[in-house]
Structures are given as C-alpha cells and as structure tokens.
C-alpha cells in the first residue's frame, strides 16, 4: 500500500516534527520551551509544503512564521513576568476537554476527510502531479483583472488595518 521511498520517509519525519512540536507546545511547563516547540511544529509544516511541490509557500512559512511570528511570540512571552515555570498542566475539567477533542477528531474524519479523500470519495487519493503552477504563475494571477487582483488589494488593506490597530493598542496613551 505504502511504498517506502524517500518521500514517504520525509513525510513521516515532517509529520513527527509537526505532531511532537504541537504536543510539546501544550504540555511544556516552560513557556519559552513551548515557543521553541512551536517553531519545530511550524518547521514540519514548511516541510509539508515542500513535499506538495510548493516551495514558495514553504519559504514563506519559514520567513514569516518562524522568522517573524515566532519571534513576536517569544517577545510576548517575555513581556509577562515569571511565566517560565508553571506548576499545573491540567485543570479539573480535563476529562471533558478530552471527550470534546476525540469527538471533534471523529467528526472531522467522518464528515470531511473520508468523503473527500477516502476511497469512495470525490477526490480519491492521487499522487501530486508534476504540473504544478510556478511562482511566476502566482505573480501573474495576483494582478490579473479576472483573477486575484481584488483580494491582492484587500490583503494590503488588511495589513494596513492590522498595523494601525497594533500601533493604537501598543503605544503609550500618556504621551499624546
């Protein structure tokens, strides 16, 4: 069923990174360690993009998520004092959240994953083809009048709003 070639091995390695990193984020007692585990998990995500023949997205993941967002998360963790040693990992409703988590997983599998990518689904498992679009096609699509030029501009508006909002929130209100 699964042939053991380099791609499969790479897939399992990246899956291990993503999952182990995610488990580390939620179960580590030291917030900074949690942030570093997050970086490992994001790195696994970048690996998946490479396996899907989308190297641009992989590099964007590393550049933006690991190079900017993870650093901001570490800064934010350091803004809060003495959060480096938490004593309790679980609160008293851990059994409830466990049940909800398992239910969600089952729901996703039956409702979304199997009908689309399962054996009788709409899009049965097929290997990633070689005819993938290049970054140049992405560039053309971003400014083409019939394609994505409007989302392109809306994205820039969103970024402007984000920056203005962040500055309004973060600046000192008494130096006005």
């Amino acid at each position: 069923m699964l042939e053991l070639n380099a791609q499969t091995i790479a897939f399992f390695v990246f899956a291990l990174f993503s999952l182990a990193g995610a488990v580390g984020v939620v179960s580590s007692k030291n917030l900074i360690h949690g942030a570093l585990y997050l970086i490992v998990s994001l790195f696994g995500g970048a690996g998946f993009f490479v396996l899907l023949s989308a190297p641009f997205m992989a590099v964007v993941q590393v550049l933006v998520y690991i190079g900017a967002i993870a650093i901001l998360i570490i800064f934010a963790v350091m803004l809060t004092r003495s959060m480096t040693n938490m004593t309790e990992l679980f609160n008293r409703q851990w059994w409830m959240s466990g049940i909800v988590g398992i239910l969600l997983f089952v729901l996703l599998t039956i409702g979304v994953i199997l009908p689309v990518w399962g054996e009788n689904g709409i899009n049965p498992s097929q290997p990633v083809s070689d005819n993938v679009a290049t970054t140049e096609d992405l560039g053309v699509a971003l400014v083409d009048g019939n394609q994505y030029v409007l989302p392109f501009q809306v994205a820039s508006l969103l970024l402007t709003a984000a920056m203005i909002g962040a500055i309004v929130l973060a600046r000192d209100t008494d130096t006005e």
């Binding site: 900074i32 570093l36 641009f56 590099v59 590393v62 550049l63 190079g67 900017a68 993870a70 970054t135």
Partner: protein, 410 residues
C-alpha cells in the same frame, strides 16, 4: 555515456548508475558528497577570513597584525582554535542547558545553509532552487532566532538586553534588504540564483539597480553586525551582549559565524549585483567562474573590513531612525521607480528580450534605469541638504542670541 556536467549532483548520479549502482543509492551518494563539500567549504574559508580581517585592521591602524605563528601569521587562527578548544567551558548556574548549547550550532547552521544555493560557476551549484533569493532570506531569519535563544538561555540580564537589541536591529534591517532585492528579481524575472547570474551576462545589475545595490550593501552591514552597526558586540556598552556567558569553543563558534556571515553576505552581493561567476571565459572553463566570484567578493568584502577599522559606531536610536525613516522609504521609492521605468522601456521597445547576452542590447534599458536611480539619489541628497541647512540656520540663530549679552557686557 559521455554527458556534459550540468550540476555536480546530476552527473555523478548518472555516472554511478551507468557503472552499475542502484539509481536511488547513486542519487543519495551524490547528494551526500555535494552536501559535505558545500558545508565544509565555508568553515575552512573562515580561517583565512579571520586572518585577512586582522591583517587589514592592523594595517589601517598602522601596525603589523599577527606575524609570529607561521609565515605572515597565517596559522594564528589554528592556534586560536586550539586554545578555544582546550578552554574550560563554564556554564552559568541556572542556564537552560539544551538551548544554551544549541544556539551556536543553529547560528552556524543558518549561515552554512546559505551556501547551498550560491552559484560558483555555470555548472557548479549546490542546488539551483527555483526560489533561491527567498530561501537565503528565510535562512537568515533563522539566525536571528538563534541569537534570541542564546541571549535568553544565559540567565543573565545583560545577555537578555543585548539579545533584544540585536534582534530589533536584525529584524528592522531585513526590510530594506528584501525591498532592495525586489529590483534584481524584477529585472531578471526569476528568483533562482543561477537565473539571476545568467541574466547578468549582458549587464551587471549594479548598473541598472545602483540604488538597490547601495541599500543592499548598507543593510548587509547592519544584518551581519558589521561596523558602523556593530552594536551586537559593543564591548564598551553591554559587555559583549548576548555572548557574555559563552566561553570556549561555543564563543569561538559565534565569532566564526559572524565572520562567515559577513563573507556570505558579500558573496551574495557579488552574485546578485556584480554578476557572480560571469567574466571572460567562464562558460568554457568553469574553474574561472570560481576565481571571478571570489575576486568580486573580495572587492566588496575588503572595503567592509576597512570600514570596520575606520568608522565609529552609531547609537541604537540613530540606527533605528536611519532604518525606518530613511532606508525603508528610500527602498520603497526605489522599487516604484524601477517598476515604472521597466514598464516605460518595455512600452517604448528598448527592453532587451529575455535571454539576451549581448551587452549592447541591454545598454538602453540599463542606462535609463541608471539615470532614474541617479535622479532619485539626487533628489534625496537635495532633500537632506535642505534639512541640514535648516538645522544649521537654527543653530546659528540660537548662537547669535547668546552672543548679544556677552558683547554688551564688554
């Protein structure tokens, strides 16, 4: 089967396969050997680089520099490395051991990884990624993370403060650097490093993208922590910043990484703006490509060494204002100007066809772009002169107001 060398990897695998080795294994062996070669090269080079730096700094300061150990002091660094290896490693109490030990390795790894996409000659490149330019930007941002880890895990206030300042500096100067990189990408039409070098066979990009080259050079100085932006190692201010608690070979690795990073940044400048391996005879004899590339890198690297020994350090607030209030707006104006002029030259019909290697075919567009660059630079200088004049007028007015009472007292 006789096939021409396209890429160190592809040919070796083919030759191994043709001599009876299993194709998958042959591919892996060739990748393995390629990785070893590309990874060892910078580490070996750094020994000579440190020597070069010390000699040049010494000559600028009118002294000789290392000259005892070996001829012209060439083995000084080996002696230093041996000293660092046998030094006791003092890990501070309360330091986070795993991250403390991991930080220098990740920092060095991030610099070494950049060498995988550098085209040394028409046929020698680690791997010609289709997004090479973005790749080395992303890898550079991993280096920033390593410094953060180093500063935090030392369990030392000064290390943490130093690490914050360094990360703020590195992160800020990444923006004009990447903005300046947009221009060669626009002119070449590709993100792959080999593609950018091939696009320069007609005209080196330093001519049409002059302002971008200047911005890229300045941002590189700041990104690698070189003078005048060397707050990272401001010995008189923060006692070596994030390096405080590092001793022995870990400190040696950080230092070696800094020199290697500076050289790599200048190597990238040579590849993107000075034509990489291109030169007379490089396509026929690949070894010449290596030679040309290193000569061009030294042409830009040695001035940065001399700059280091010459220029005073800037303050952190001056550095940040310089970046966000000067370099970023200039870089944005530069991108818009080049974009506009490329469209104009294309509409008029002066742009060369893609793939042209003729110097004269590239000349019209390059000259127009160069003129555009010079106009923007002239505009900026005039604006700065206006500001300077206003500031000087204000200070002389203030001085005159102070002079009057003294004259009256006589």
């Amino acid at each position: 089967m006789e096939q021409q060398c396209i890429n160190v990897i592809e040919t070796m695998a083919l030759c191994l396969t043709s001599s009876g080795v299993d194709p998958g294994l042959a591919q892996f062996i060739s990748i393995f050997i390629g990785v070893i070669l590309v990874a060892i090269f910078p580490l070996v080079l750094v020994i000579i680089l440190i020597w070069l730096e010390r000699k040049i700094a010494a000559r600028v300061q009118d002294r000789i520099g290392p000259n005892r150990v070996g001829p012209f002091g060439l083995f000084q660094n080996i002696a230093d490395a041996v000293k660092l290896i046998i030094k006791e490693d003092i890990t501070p109490a309360g330091a986070d051991r795993l991250i403390y030990n991991l930080a220098p390795i990740i920092a060095t790894l991030s610099t070494t990884l950049m060498w995988a996409v550098i085209p040394f000659s028409p046929v020698h490149i680690g791997v010609d990624l289709s997004i090479g330019v973005l790749y080395f930007t992303a890898i550079g941002s991993i280096g920033t993370l390593a410094i953060m880890m180093a500063g935090w895990s030392s369990n030392n206030k000064y290390a943490l403060l130093g690490a914050f300042r360094v990360v703020a500096q590195l992160v800020s100067y990444e923006i004009p650097m990447v903005l300046a990189l947009l221009v060669p990408v626009m002119i070449a039409g590709t993100l792959s490093m080999q593609g950018i070098v091939v696009a320069q066979l007609g005209m080196w990009f330093i001519v049409p993208a002059f302002l971008s080259a200047v911005i890229f050079y300045i941002s590189n100085l700041a990104e690698t922590g070189r003078a005048p932006f060397d707050l990272i190692e401001a010995e008189s201010e923060l006692v070596a910043g994030y390096n405080i608690e590092y001793s022995g070979m870990k400190f040696g690795l950080f230092m070696a990484n800094e020199f290697m990073h500076a050289f790599t940044a200048n190597l990238l400048f040579a590849v993107i703006f000075l034509g990489g391996w291109s030169g007379p005879g490089a396509t026929q004899l690949p070894v010449l490509g290596f030679v040309y590339l290193f000569i061009k890198t030294l042409i830009v690297y040695i001035p940065s060494l001399i700059l280091r020994a010459t220029v005073p350090r800037v303050r952190i607030d001056q550095m940040m204002s310089f970046n966000w209030k000067f370099l970023v707006p200039v870089a944005i104006v530069n991108v818009i100007m080049v974009a506009f002029l490329i469209q104009v030259t294309k509409a008029v019909g002066l742009a060369p066809a893609p793939g042209e290697t003729d110097f004269l075919a590239h000349l019209p567009q390059s000259v127009i772009l160069l003129l555009g660059n010079l106009v923007v630079i002239a505009g900026i200088l005039t604006y700065l002169r206006g500001i300077g004049r206003k500031a000087r007028l204000e200070s002389t007015v203030v001085a005159k107001a102070h002079d009057v009472p003294q004259v009256a007292a006589h």
